[in-house]
């Protein structure tokens, strides 16, 4: 009765926790192993996410976590503990089972990335998906620079430095790199640091994305942003995660999980916070 049809392309899988480590403060990295990674490696696009399904059944909804990297037979997820679900995740130990979905959403649009240069702008836990993206751009021979912003203690900087041609760091408290945010850094030091690029990719808090969108519009740079919203299902069934997108001359409510999470910045209708 249950025939395999060509359009049945997604599934839920059970992985095994290989490791859990605290990167800084309340930011953690987990590494996951499993047979399904072969498919993930082939199919996953930078900017996609997976749903992590909770063990505590009072925590009903899956937690969407962007794919940070797939390498050496391991899926890496980096997340911040912000509530009950992520607190549960922080309690997973090596060897524990972890239930995930196939990669979901659309990744970054890399059709225009055959040559030239790219600038990646990340803020806090928006940085993880940029690592996978940097790897892909690097693989394509694109000169890649990254500007990473943190409230205080940085993370994933070394990993980015290994892949990118240049990495600049901004911290709000000035503990490392530029004292301030990434927009101020690009404004003040962009020219002397040679931050010129054909394409800009970003993930991070909304005010940062909005400010970057303004900057890129001024400089006529194509910008793709990965957005976040409270999600229900994560696969397009409930349309719980709506974002206003300007398309065909009108504003349309699109689902971040299915139509995004990556959108062209010029299409995003930025509401005043």
């Amino acid at each position: 009765m249950c025939r395999d049809r060509e359009w049945i392309e997604k599934s839920l899988v059970t992985g095994r926790m290989a490791s859990q480590e605290r990167l800084t403060g309340d930011v953690y990295r987990i590494r996951i192993e499993g047979d399904f990674l072969e498919d993930f490696t082939r199919e996953a696009k930078p900017g996609q996410f997976v749903n992590v399904y909770m063990k505590d059944k009072s925590t009903l909804l899956p937690r969407p976590v962007s794919i940070c990297r797939i390498q050496s037979g391991q899926l890496e997820l980096v997340y911040r503990v912000v509530g009950k679900g992520t607190r549960e995740m922080a309690g997973y130990h090596s060897g524990d089972a972890i239930r995930l979905s196939s990669p979901l959403g659309n990744g970054f649009d890399l059709r225009g990335c055959q040559s030239g240069s790219a600038l990646l702008v990340g803020g806090g836990v928006g940085i993880p998906p940029l690592l996978q993206l940097a790897g892909e751009l690097n693989h394509r021979g694109i000169r890649t620079m990254a500007v990473l912003g943190f409230q205080k203690e940085p993370f994933l900087v070394q990993e980015m430095e290994k892949i990118c041609d240049k990495v600049l760091v901004a911290t709000e408290d000035g503990s490392l790199g530029f004292a301030g945010n990434v927009i101020q850094l690009i404004d003040k030091q962009g020219q002397q640091e040679g931050l010129v690029a054909d394409q800009v990719f970003s993930c991070g808090p909304k005010p940062m994305l909005k400010a970057l969108a303004d900057l890129c519009r001024e400089r006529e740079l194509p910008l793709q942003v990965s957005l976040e919203e409270r999600m229900g299902c994560g696969y397009g069934a409930c349309v719980g995660c709506a974002v206003d997108i300007k398309r065909d001359g009108k504003i349309q409510r699109k689902a971040v999980c299915k139509d995004g999470p990556v959108f062209w910045a010029e299409e995003v209708f930025w509401h005043a916070e």
Binding site: R3, K10, R230
Partner: protein, 311 residues
């Protein structure tokens, strides 16, 4: 004993439509193209699609979702592309699959409901499910589902227009659910589905802020199951027409409880958001449950319940 060798028969009759099993998808939690990426939709008893209005509805601003203990609130606001787009884009896709399509219909006026029903009359849709209850649309909804006279009026007018069997989906946000159930039965409803979501709200204490942009939302999920089960049971006692039961069903045994309470079929809603495969997993669990308990048919299972509870 011998029961074990008898083949399971899960077929049910829902208001004159034959379903090969009692599992359907609850409106608003099922997107054929997206849900169908996870399992073969042919396994379903019926496919109930998202609420369709006469014109496109843009729904509410975000945040639209709030998780609660064992449940969730939604204030999606019935975002939908309108009946024209539904007929043009959704139905041809659904027609590839064998299970009957039950189109959920929403409206802000009686005329809205009627015109959607009219537009769907010449299509492959097998049945209508009229949502008179959704609590998260400020503009209407709530009035129809909470007043017997209004519920009766919508039922009468839609029945007059439509040649399809019509289910009326009731709101649980009423004092006496049986009063509304009797009102729609008396106006010719072919069946009743219940329950829709319970009105609730959520506050983010750390930000001292109401969480949903809409203020209130509809509560669904396992947290509401006992309320849903009680209402399904009461309505099944009160009316003669078939009942489609839903509200927090997450396992095969949950489904069995609703079927025992008198539901002809059930819908899986929030569980499918929690696990995209829930409808087919619940179907499998229901089969296993029935085999274990040695029930061959849904009717046999319901009869056992009635005999032990003074029928």
């Amino acid at each position: 004993m011998q029961n074990k060798n008898r083949e399971l028969d899960l077929t049910v009759d829902l208001a004159g439509i034959w379903l090969k099993n009692p599992i359907t998808t609850a409106s608003g939690t099922f997107s054929p193209r997206d849900s169908g990426k996870f399992y073969d939709l042919n396994q379903l008893g019926a496919m109930i699609t998202k609420g369709i209005a006469l014109e496109p509805w843009e729904g509410n601003p975000s945040p639209r979702i709030a998780e609660t203990y064992g449940g969730m609130l939604n204030a999606v606001g019935l975002q939908n592309p309108g009946v024209e787009a539904y007929i043009r884009e959704e139905l041809p896709y659904l027609e590839q699959f064998a299970p009957p399509v039950i189109a959920n219909v929403v409206g802000r006026t009686v005329e809205d409901y009627c015109r959607v029903a009219e537009a769907l009359d010449d299509t492959s849709v097998a049945m209508l499910e009229v949502n008179i209850s959704c609590p998260n649309v400020k503009a209407g909804g709530i009035g129809f589902g909470t007043e017997p006279a209004m519920a009766a009026l919508v039922t009468r007018e839609v029945k007059r227009i439509s040649s399809k069997p019509v289910l009326i989906k009731l709101s649980p946000n009423v004092t006496d659910i049986t009063e509304i159930a009797r009102a729609v039965e008396s106006e010719g409803a072919d069946g009743i589905s219940l329950i829709n979501t319970l009105l609730g709200m959520s506050i983010d204490a750390r930000r001292a802020k109401i969480l949903l942009a809409n203020g209130t939302g509809g509560l669904s999920g396992p947290a509401i199951k006992p309320v849903a089960l009680r209402m399904v049971y009461q309505v099944c006692q009160a009316v003669q027409i078939p009942v489609l039961g839903l509200g927090g069903i997450s396992t095969g045994e949950d489904a069995a409880e609703f079927l025992m309470a008198g539901a002809s079929a059930i819908s899986v809603g929030t569980a499918a958001l929690v696990n995209p495969l829930a409808p087919v997993e619940i179907l499998q669990e229901l089969k296993e449950f029935m085999m274990e308990m040695e029930y061959r048919t849904i009717a046999e299972m319901r009869q056992a319940f009635q005999e032990r509870n003074n029928g």
